[in-house]
């Protein structure tokens, strides 16, 4: 039976969608069958980030309403085998699906997939409630910024109240140099403040935007700091204990070159 992981943050713009896509790619690269589900009804983006916007025909709301079978709505990824997207509807609203719809759809997906990753919309309203309902695990994303950490704390509280979990944390866009210079909250600070288990740290990386522009996941390239970080998180989800890269410690030039060559070949 597949595992449902809901990816959420409270605050918008911290990287939920990118993280969902990247984690999906990284898990599929490990040979797992993965489906990423966009529950941001009305503000569909996961298809765009994955470069699948031209392949979307049916969507989550069609499936919820029974006007399309689930298998027909799934979009196969272009880059990795074993990865599928269940897109959101663009011209509908969060209220057009219910938490029960999502639980039912995820129960069906569990039979087919090892991992079901749910990209939650920002906020703590209906869309978030929908995304949380089927969760076996919750991955909360924050950047090392005060507003984002505060919102993450609020979301963690709501997840705890809903009796969902385990809750684990992903810190996105950490800049080790700025942390060292005392200009940014470090991973220890964020963990101490939020008091939840750390799942991964994604370093600030120019490649993320470049990849999003092209609709190609950064996780495909372990030669990039962010790509490597996502691959490490995927391995942690599979039960491996992968050490967290310490501040500023990136793979050496030679190591990165080797990975780049492996990626290109």
């Amino acid at each position: 039976m597949g595992k449902v992981i809901t990816i959420t943050s409270g605050k918008g713009g911290v990287g939920k969608t990118t993280a969902t896509a990247s984690l999906g790619v990284a898990l599929a690269m490990q040979g797992r069958k993965v489906v990423v589900v966009d529950t941001d009804i009305g503000l569909r983006n996961l298809d765009m980030i994955m470069g699948l916007e031209n392949r979307v025909v049916y969507n989550l709301v069609d499936v919820a309403e029974g006007s399309c079978p689930l298998s027909k709505a799934l979009v196969r990824d272009k880059h990795v085998s074993g990865l599928y997207l269940l897109p959101a509807a663009q011209t509908r609203y969060k209220e057009d699906i219910t938490p029960e719809d999502l639980v039912r759809i995820c129960d069906e997906l569990r039979k087919e997939f090892d991992f079901i990753l749910i990209d939650s919309p920002a906020g703590i309203e209906q869309g978030f409630r929908n995304a949380l309902a089927p969760a076996d695990e919750v991955l909360v994303i924050t950047t090392p910024e005060v507003a984002s950490v505060r919102d993450a704390d609020r979301v963690i509280g709501l997840v705890e109240t809903a009796d969902k979990g385990p809750i684990r944390l992903l810190i996105n866009r950490l800049d080790p140099a700025r942390v060292r210079h005392g200009e940014m909250l470090g991973q220890e600070d964020v963990i101490e403040v939020l008091a939840v288990e750390l799942m991964g740290i994604i370093p600030e990386d120019e490649e993320v935007l470049i990849c999003a522009n092209k609709g190609v996941s950064v996780a495909l390239n372990g030669g990039t700091p962010a790509g490597l970080a996502y691959q490490n998180i995927a391995r942690r989800f599979l039960g491996e204990s992968v050490p967290f890269t310490t501040l500023g410690k990136m793979p050496g030039l030679l190591e990165r070159l080797i990975r780049l060559i492996q990626f290109a070949s």
């Binding site: 950490v149 505060r150 704390d153 609020r154 005392g182 200009e183 909250l185 600070d189 403040v193 008091a195």
Partner: protein, 89 residues
């Protein structure tokens, strides 16, 4: 700027440290339903209630929120006025 402060002997927190302190404070209140004004009201009632049983130093009463992991607790520090029986010197 920070070098200048250090030269002048002014202790100055980095913006990283300020961010952490501000978060710890705001989250302590966020996690409970208690706002600073409600906490002040609670303090007043605690003073009234405690004074019925024992003499206290009303000016020195402190009621604060403390955090332990993801849990918070109300900590009341209510100093008693030294009575003849309790005073050691």
């Amino acid at each position: 700027m920070r070098i200048l402060d250090r030269l002048l002997g002014r202790p100055r927190l980095s913006s990283r440290e300020i961010a952490k302190e501000r978060l710890q404070l705001v989250l302590t209140y966020d996690r409970t339903e208690l706002s600073p004004s409600l906490l002040e009201a609670l303090k007043g009632e605690l003073i009234d209630a405690t004074s019925k049983y024992v003499d206290i130093d009303k000016g020195e009463v402190k009621v604060t929120l403390a955090r332990e992991g993801r849990r918070s607790r109300v900590v009341a520090d209510i100093p008693l006025l030294s009575s003849q029986a309790g005073s050691s010197g």
